[in-house]
């Protein structure tokens, strides 16, 4: 796509990606792939977070390499979603620092973190229910667009040009996610599985360096889980986006992730390859259960 090259340069100007190009696809490949080909690295250093005397995260440290697909597992209440909230600027860690491609992000507001190229999905869907699928995805591209009130009010010129261009980009992702049929429907009326895909699409169209996925297959059946896994694998391999994945489906994480981190009571239990993690005695005891195979 010729229009995509403009984005690549514009996101570089914004100072987003400085991580290495990981497993980037050749530029002539699939329609959406050349628009974002860099992943950022993520470094969590001694992050603690407590609310009202309760420690949610306790000295969490790990590193995610650029382009890696990194899984986080752990029982409910272990602090996985809180960690995501710390990364995306919704929570302010009590201690510690987080770096995205060597840029400190603790203390930045969510909007500023988003501008660095961090996109995320939420455990309990956070879609704009009154807006249709197209517009939800267009909001994902908000940070890549420039139209303000004045240009919007005039419409002809930049506002119209931008609308046309970015709707085209969104349409590709809509097509990729199999949402074309429902693109004009308000997302509030869509079934749960489709809403999950819309949220993923909204994160994808923002051309992220780092994608935080909070339980992307929760509540999905085996078929849907399989398809989502394939999609995530493609996103990771073709586009080279760094993905951090929180998920309870350990089998899926095992198949998908390059490395896995297990968290319990806000503390990192172990970081390693999927095989190492699921055989770790503390992980089995605290999370998987003795009869897990």
């Amino acid at each position: 796509m010729s229009s995509s090259t403009a984005h690549k340069s514009s996101s570089a100007v914004e100072g987003g990606p400085s991580g290495r190009v990981a497993r980037a696809a050749p530029s002539h490949e699939g329609a959406a792939s050349d628009s974002f080909s860099r992943g950022g690295s993520l470094k969590i250093s001694n992050v603690s977070f407590s609310v009202g005397g309760i420690t949610i995260l306790d000295d969490v440290s790990f590193e995610v390499k650029a382009g890696e697909l990194f899984g986080i597992i752990g029982p409910n209440g272990a602090g996985k979603s809180s960690l995501f909230n710390c990364i995306s600027g919704i929570y302010l860690p009590t201690e510690g620092q987080i770096h995205l491609s060597d840029k400190p992000i603790v203390g930045r507001r969510p909007t500023a973190v988003a501008k660095l190229g961090v996109a995320r999905t939420f455990q309990n869907l956070a879609l704009f229910n009154n807006l249709n699928v197209s517009d939800n995805l267009m909001l994902g591209r908000h940070r890549l667009m420039r139209t303000g009130y004045l240009t919007a009010a005039l419409w002809f010129g930049r506002a119209r040009r931008e609308e046309v261009k970015h709707r085209l980009e969104c349409a590709e992702i809509i097509e990729l996610l199999g949402l074309s049929e429902v693109a004009k429907l308000p997302v509030g009326v869509l079934p749960y599985g489709a809403q999950k895909r819309v949220e993923l699409g909204r994160a994808l169209v923002s051309e992220p360096n780092l994608l935080l996925l909070d339980e992307p297959v929760a509540g999905m059946n085996d078929d849907e889980t399989e398809q989502m896994s394939n999609l995530l694998r493609n996103v990771s391999q073709q586009l080279g986006i760094t993905i951090v994945l929180v998920e309870h489906d350990v089998h899926m994480v095992q198949q998908l992730a390059d490395r896995v981190c297990a968290i319990n009571f806000g503390q990192v239990v172990v970081v390693g390859s999927p095989a190492e993690v699921v055989t770790h005695p503390t992980v089995i005891e605290a999370y998987l259960g003795a009869d897990w195979s």
């Binding site: 919007a152 969104c170 809509i174 074309s180």
Partner: protein, 417 residues
């Protein structure tokens, strides 16, 4: 995940995919930006209404209804602004009348007292309104919902106080005349309009001025809501945390919504001031009732639609006048506790007089809409477009044939929510 996604993803791996290369294909509606007037029916009805407005003063030589329709235009223009704030950004404000007041006194001071041209005082009213909106807007960052309503209410009382006491500008309790304000715009003078040999009265000129403003504001509002800032406003309304995570600054868009909405209200207030010819602090504009009326306009017309504000303004300005004018025709000779329901003359005993009866109907209308039709008249229009009428006949026909519902899905269930 539908079956189509997996093979496409594989296609990407293969390096070429005819299906994806074929993009964009014109049949995909989501590729196009949202149209200014989506659909042929919308285009035609807008054109029809525009023609009615253009030719109304020529064809109907009725000064009374022209006067009413000037207020309709002013209220519609201001309600478009409120709908941007309340309908699209979710910030409920009861201080909208205060912004109109600001504009009114800008018109009085700069237009009548200082004698500036209209091309100066009318935009100036918008600028002053925007400035006041920019002062009030940041409050919306600290408080939400009911609390914001109370703060916006305080603005109303504060404005009333300023108007009473800043005598050098507002004339204090004695009021100030606005009839001297210039109404010229290039070769046109709205106070004495002559087009193609037809001479219009001052009221008719103001009718055009007010409705040109409605058209301009509707165009601006529609363009804003169908592009980036409008989407951001709606995102802030629906889920501000999710909006922030996408890079949409909720603070920025809340304040901007206040600025835009109060600028529109203020410009509308300026035209209203000229229309009224005289401003006093006791005028009803600063009563709480008028601010509630603005909320009622967008609720009855349809929240988060541009045309809803115009429909609502039409209903809520024309309806009371209709009731007042035609009460004596119907006489409402329904005895309640040995009284008539409405006494038109005021001599015979009655539960209401025409004025209070129109207020009563107004309150009733608001409650009925809030309870039964929260999407307002825009909701009806959407239902009709979604096939509610077809499905009604469809079901009726089925009923007459002895079946309550046809086997097929009724069209209404396919309508957009």
């Amino acid at each position: 995940m539908s079956s189509s996604s997996a093979p496409q993803a594989k296609g990407e791996q293969g390096g070429h995919d005819a299906h994806l290369d074929a993009q964009p294909s014109p049949q995909h509606a989501q590729l196009k930006p949202i149209a200014l007037l989506p659909g042929l029916d919308t285009k035609f009805s807008t054109l029809a209404i525009a023609l009615i407005i253009i030719f109304y003063p020529v064809l109907a030589d009725n000064d009374f209804w022209t006067t009413v329709l000037v207020s309709t235009g002013v209220f519609a223009a201001a309600a478009i602004g409120l709908n941007l704030l309340t309908g699209y950004t979710g910030q409920v404000s009861l201080g909208h009348a205060a912004f109109l007041t600001v504009g009114s006194y800008v018109a009085a001071y700069f237009g009548a007292t200082q004698g500036l041209w209209m091309i100066v005082w009318l935009p100036l009213a918008g600028v002053f309104g925007a400035a006041v909106g920019a002062i009030i807007g940041p409050f919306a960052l600290r408080v939400k919902g009911d609390y914001l309503v109370v703060i916006s209410l305080a603005l109303l009382f504060f404005t009333a106080h300023v108007v009473r006491n800043w005598e050098s500008v507002t004339g204090g309790n004695d009021g100030i005349s606005t009839s001297g304000a210039d109404l010229g715009l290039g070769p046109l003078n709205f106070a004495d309009l002559r087009i193609f040999g037809h001479t219009f009265t001052r009221e008719e000129g103001l009718f055009y001025l007010a409705w040109i403003m409605v058209g301009a504001f509707a165009l601006i509002a529609r363009n804003v809501v169908r592009s980036r800032p409008g989407r951001a406003m709606q995102a802030v309304r629906d889920r501000d945390t999710a909006a922030e995570v996408l890079g949409v600054s909720s603070a920025q868009y809340k304040i901007a919504a206040f600025v835009l909405s109060s600028a529109m209200a203020s410009a509308a207030g300026a035209v209203l001031a000229v229309h009224q010819r005289f401003l006093t602090p006791t005028e009803p504009l600063l009563e709480l009732f008028v601010s509630i009326q603005f909320v009622a306009i967008i609720v009855v017309g349809g929240v988060a639609t541009v045309y809803g504000a115009i429909i609502g303004a039409f209903l809520l300005t024309v309806l009371p006048e209709t009731i007042k004018t035609y009460t004596h025709w119907f006489d409402f000779n329904i005895p309640i506790w040995d009284k008539k329901l409405v006494s038109s003359s005021g001599i015979e005993p009655g539960l209401f007089n025409p004025g209070s009866f129109s207020n009563f109907l107004f309150g009733l209308l608001l409650v009925v809409f809030l309870l039964l039709s929260p999407q307002g008249i825009a909701g009806w229009i959407r239902a009709v477009k979604g096939g509610a009428i077809q499905s009604f006949w469809h079901n009726l026909r089925g009923h007459l044939r002895g079946r309550w519902f046809q086997r097929g899905e009724p069209a209404a269930s396919r309508s957009r929510a």
